[in-house]
């Protein structure tokens, strides 16, 4: 299968380790990964903030770049949700690539039929299901199943897991006060689990949560779940 990695702009610049982890996991499972360098941002920030016109060229670039691959895999619930949920509305001619774009856990569980990717991560981890993964992509328990199959990993339940962490893209800046209040509650729940790591499918939410944990001086560290799956 011709698998293309869609790394997302946040990962490219700030969290390149997540992209490297996806490559590692897919190669370990025997697949060849391509990285089309023409790719840019999916346009989510523009579209969600009300800049439709500015988003459209980015949508067009995505469609052109990834057309022709059997599967496009991205380690981000919100960027993949942007492609799958919004592209058909923004650009009705965005074509088949939309249906072939998967969040990593969907690709592993649904397309490859794998839950044990052969990882080892001997730590206490709690999992925060990010909103777009949860409610737009309906990832369900796929990421949890992947984590549960990791050797040595102790998965701790997060109370109020399905509540938004307060990131919301530009919401975090435009309504910093409310965002901070939501973040404080989320961080408290995470710290109360006693976990060493909080995992999620989105680095943007994790950057927000990690920023809160680091400010509060909590022991839990944010980690993208792909990096756990890549650990051995």
């Amino acid at each position: 299968m011709k698998v293309a990695l869609f790394v997302t702009c946040v990962n490219d610049l700030v969290f390149p380790g997540t992209g490297r982890a996806v490559v590692e996991v897919l190669e370990r499972l025997g697949h060849t990964v391509e990285f089309p360098v023409e790719q840019g941002c999916c346009g989510q920030m523009h579209a969600n903030s009300g800049y439709r016109e500015e988003a459209l060229p980015l949508v067009a670039n995505f469609v052109k770049t990834f057309d022709g691959y059997d599967a496009v895999v991205g380690p981000s619930g919100s960027c993949v949700a942007m492609v799958r949920d919004w592209y058909p509305k923004l650009a009705p001619d965005s074509g088949e690539v939309v249906a072939r774009t998967y969040e990593l856990s969907e690709f592993l569980v649904d397309v490859l039929g794998v839950t044990d990717v052969g990882a080892t991560f001997p730590h206490r981890v709690t999992y925060h299901p990010t909103c777009h993964g949860l409610r737009m992509l309906r990832l369900g328990d796929r990421p949890r199943r992947l984590l549960e199959s990791v050797r040595g990993l102790e998965l701790l339940d997060l109370p109020g897991a399905e509540e938004c962490c307060g990131f919301g893209g530009t919401f975090a800046m435009k309504n910093a006060g409310v965002s901070g209040a939501m973040l404080a509650d989320k961080c408290r729940s995470i710290v109360d689990t006693g976990a060493e790591y909080v995992a999620a499918v989105d680095n943007s939410c994790l950057a927000h949560i990690g920023g809160g944990l680091s400010r509060a001086g909590g022991p839990a560290k944010p980690i993208h779940y792909a990096e756990i799956l890549a650990a051995s």
Binding site: E54, A172, S179, A181
Partner: protein, 470 residues
Amino acid sequence: MSGGNIVARLPFPVAARKELGDAQLRANLRNATHTIRDKRLRMVGEVPDWEELRRSGAAIKDDVLSRLPELLTQFEAAATAAGATVHWARDAAEACAVVTALVRDTGTAEVVKVKSMVTQEIGLNDSLEAAGIAAVETDLAELIVQLAGDTPSHILVPAIHYNRSQIRDIFHRNGLSALTDDPPALAEAARRHLRAKFLSARVGISGANFAVAESGTLVVVESEGNGRMCLTLPETLISVVGIEKILPTFRDLEVFLQLLPRSSTGERMNPYTSLWTGVTPGDGPQTVHIVLVDNGRTETLADDVGRQALRCIRCSACLNVCPVYERVGGHAYGSVYPGPIGAILSPQLSGGGANRTLPYASTLCGACYDACPVRINIPEVLVHLRQTGPHPPAERAAMRALSWIMRDRRRYAAALRAARRGAAPIRWATGRRGAVRHLPWPLSKWTSTRDAPLPAKQTFREWWAHERTR
């Protein structure tokens, strides 16, 4: 034209700041919303065809919206034939003028009201007061808010921001005595107060949850029975109804009488459902007026994406699951319609000023969409409304520049490289923490409550070029 109490006075972030500082408020809200939220989930879980019901509810309402003028005409004819008088009001001012004149004609100086969002929306109580007419709210929560000199902060539980002991204090200040702050004692004090009002009132004012076009029937769904008193005891009944409340046929009620109570109070069935059609000689009010209110609805209807907001049945499920509402309460939205539905309805019914900040009062987490019994895609409408709003010039410039850079591979790679290089000295300065505590404006808004991450030492595409392509 539209108006009334839909327009916020303060931008949402400013109003929210004040509410966020109130720890008691946040605790009250958290308790109340989580209790209703859990109850709703249990009740919805009992219904095997809940998703089909939601789809039916949405479809019936969409059908109504697609042929509203026809159904309204049908409703008017049926209601008139049954002995009611139908009035039409384009905006809040017109609606208030019609109702005030009707009350004045009866010569009474006091009316009893059963909770009605639309009379809040048009600011009816103030208009009546200006005409020397006292309007007594009879819904318990609404009464509490009225006695406190406050405004409602929730669609269904207008006094949700108060706890029991605060309510007892409000009662005491107004001469209603309750011996303890137990809910039954508080309810008894309110009952004694209201009973006297019901028995003397000659005019009742109500809203309606539904208006059936084929029969001219109005429907009110409530929990306390006070509404039933308002609807049956006075000689004159004036019902103020938003034009979107229409349902085509009596049978359609079946769907909504299942959707509404489970979504709003988490009950299988609400305790009181009152239906009335015009006048019945010798029984109940002998003069019945219906005021159909537009107030921005026709304009909302004209918007392909935004019109779904008119499907709303005011159940308040979206408020109870909204993490933003839970932190700031209803007053921060500045409009009679708070929470997620308010964030899309208020700007559409009345689009200017501070209402423009409401579509941004959401993280787009989608909990409201999942909860909504008529499947209003609130996140979709929020994003749609953000597209029409005026954008801050600095933000617009930044978004344009980023779009220009990100759509071209060379420009994009160069920008990533520049950002990565630019961060190097900061990374060195922050040492092992690897996170930044203070950033200059506008990023200072990020660092006001959380540390910021730094660009990595090597971008992903640099790593790929270095390791994988040769």
